[in-house]
Amino acid sequence: MEQILANGLYLGAQYALIALGLTLIFSLMNVLNFAHGQMYVFGGFVTYTLVAQLGLPFIVGLIASAVVLAVMGALIEKFLFRPVIRRSKRDESTMLLAAGIAFFLDAVILLLFGEKQRGVPKIVGGVFNWDMRLIMPYDRILIGFLAISLIVGFILFMQYSRTGRAMRALAQDRVAAQLMGVDVDRYSMIGFALGAMLAGLVGGLLVTITGINLGMGGPTSVKAFMMIMIGGAGVISGAIAGGFILGMMESIGLTLLAAYGDVTYLVIFASLMVFLAIRPQGLMGKPWG
């Protein structure tokens, strides 16, 4: 039992961090960023290149991932999303753009980093073993801890910094925020950069444990979508809750339903649909987000 909870908690922490960036972008610009998973993969490959191939310390790789992705996010917002949002009649049109960017990043990743699964050697060795009741490798504990502190740091940033407050105002009511003197363009760009940076950071963190390959992008986006739906789209606390709930659901579901094998994920996904049918705005979302 302890093992199942610990697995769920670790999985939840990494999921929540992925969902955070996605929900931030959604809340600010009403854009469902299909390319979020690809950004995560890109971040992982940046860390891989610096750490495994050039032999630099892990922390350098992590910072580089964050910086590269933040710049990429800012550029994508300024030159792609902003003009399209301005001129399109329906909000949803950005989905095509986002999907195009996702394909584009897939192609770039394939050309730059190749088709193979990549991984960075373990940053800490050893396994924590509590009497065979709870087994957790130290590197997982470290990454889980880092993920949770990043989440806490992000919440604090959004809560207390000037930028964070401006972005929250923007998310609540775009027009009102603009009237109150918030520079919408600037903060949209910062928000997008921040969201992309979070994706890059998770990629950099997880490359040490799960490795990275070019196929992980699309499925990661879909999983992140599910998390923000569970919690409520565009709500920071919702994304965190959604991440942990999905992590727990997988961990518990896989153990309970192990005997039935093939239907485990069917049950998880079907119950998700039932949940949303009953509570369409997720746990904490605004209705009709």
Binding site: R90, M226, Y265, P280
Partner: protein
């Protein structure tokens, strides 16, 4: 119908049924038959997605209904000995029935929530196909016979495909007929009372409910028609590949159906058809670029979006055309 519109329809039919086969004979590019057959069938599915867009819902679940339709046809043909032609409408109707059951609860959702639930639905359909015994699970259903003869009162309407020298042409013509009928129905819906009501839903659901529109009923109806198209497309694909697997229609297909609609233009009935042609055919033509295929393809997609954010057909609007 105005004369100019009649002329346009005539030119379109001429192009699809005469010019395309003629061009293929002249150039000898027989492989285009299959590509264009795919385009026709995918645009049937995309027409359904477009209709759900028309009531203001983003539908990323069409792949699920295509898979359902495909399995219905495959199972009826191989296990119950039905003729393919009988299974085709049944596949559509079964998909529609499933969509009513699923649509009733989930159509209350809007925006991204509806989009995401339909995305999950595609994965649920795949996993269901893997788990059910009747679908033969992971091993799929293979060696499905080609469509047989269809005769009415002893008169052969469609010959047995297995006896044809060129089933490619037959499949193409059939898919093209299906596509033309689909868009005829779609055009008819949009320009009827039903279409007006759908537009009112798209603009403001509360308002249209307050003036007495039965919004719940209307949504389910539109969704059912949409899924009917999806089921048809799925069944036809199964007839061509003579096999079906749980992975025959996956999340990627669902997303593609949606992208076809966006690219063509959400405000135009024929948008999804054009979008399918450009995206699907474009990919095939780009295969000469080898490892740069995806790069060029996605780059073109982004560029197109930057220039024409409301879809390719919004070009017409600048000239003063419109719907």
């Amino acid at each position: 119908m105005t004369p100019s519109r009649l002329l346009g329809v005539g030119a379109f039919l001429l192009g699809v049924f005469v010019l395309v086969p003629l061009l293929i004979v002249l150039t000898g590019r027989w492989d285009f038959y299959y590509t264009l057959t795919s385009v026709a069938l995918l645009s049937v599915g995309a027409a359904g997605v477009w209709l759900t867009f028309y009531i203001g819902r983003i539908n990323i679940g069409q792949g699920a209904y295509a898979l359902v339709g495909g399995y219905v046809s495959a199972i009826l043909v191989t296990q119950a000995g039905f003729s393919f032609w009988a299974t085709l409408p049944m596949a559509g109707l079964f998909s529609a029935a499933v969509s009513v059951a699923i649509g009733l609860p989930i159509l209350r959702l809007r925006g991204v929530y509806f989009a995401m639930v339909t995305l999950v639905l595609t994965e649920v359909a795949r996993l269901t196909a893997l788990a059910l015994p009747v679908t033969n699970g992971a091993k799929g259903i293979t060696s499905i016979p080609l469509p047989g003869e269809l005769s009415i009162f002893g008169l052969t309407v469609i010959p047995d495909f297995a006896s044809l020298g060129n089933p490619k042409l037959a499949f193409y013509l059939m898919a093209a007929v299906l596509m033309v009928l689909t868009y005829l129905v779609l055009w008819r819906i949009v320009n009827s009372r039903l279409g007006h009501l759908c537009r009112s839903l798209q603009q403001n659901e509360e308002l249209s409910a307050s003036i007495g529109v039965n919004t719940a009923m209307l949504r389910v109806l539109a969704y059912a028609i949409s899924s009917f198209f999806g089921g048809l497309a799925g069944a036809m694909f199964v007839a061509i590949s003579q096999s079906i697997y749980p992975s025959s229609f996956v999340v990627t297909d669902s997303v593609n159906f949606m992208l076809y609609c966006f690219l063509g233009g959400l405000g135009y009935v024929f948008g999804p058809m054009l979008g399918t042609l450009l995206l699907y055919f474009g990919w095939d033509l780009l295969s000469v670029a080898r490892e740069y295929q995806l790069l060029i393809y996605s780059g073109a997609m982004i560029a197109l979006m930057l220039v024409l954010p409301n879809g390719v057909l919004s070009l017409l609007e600048k000239k003063g055309g419109g719907k």
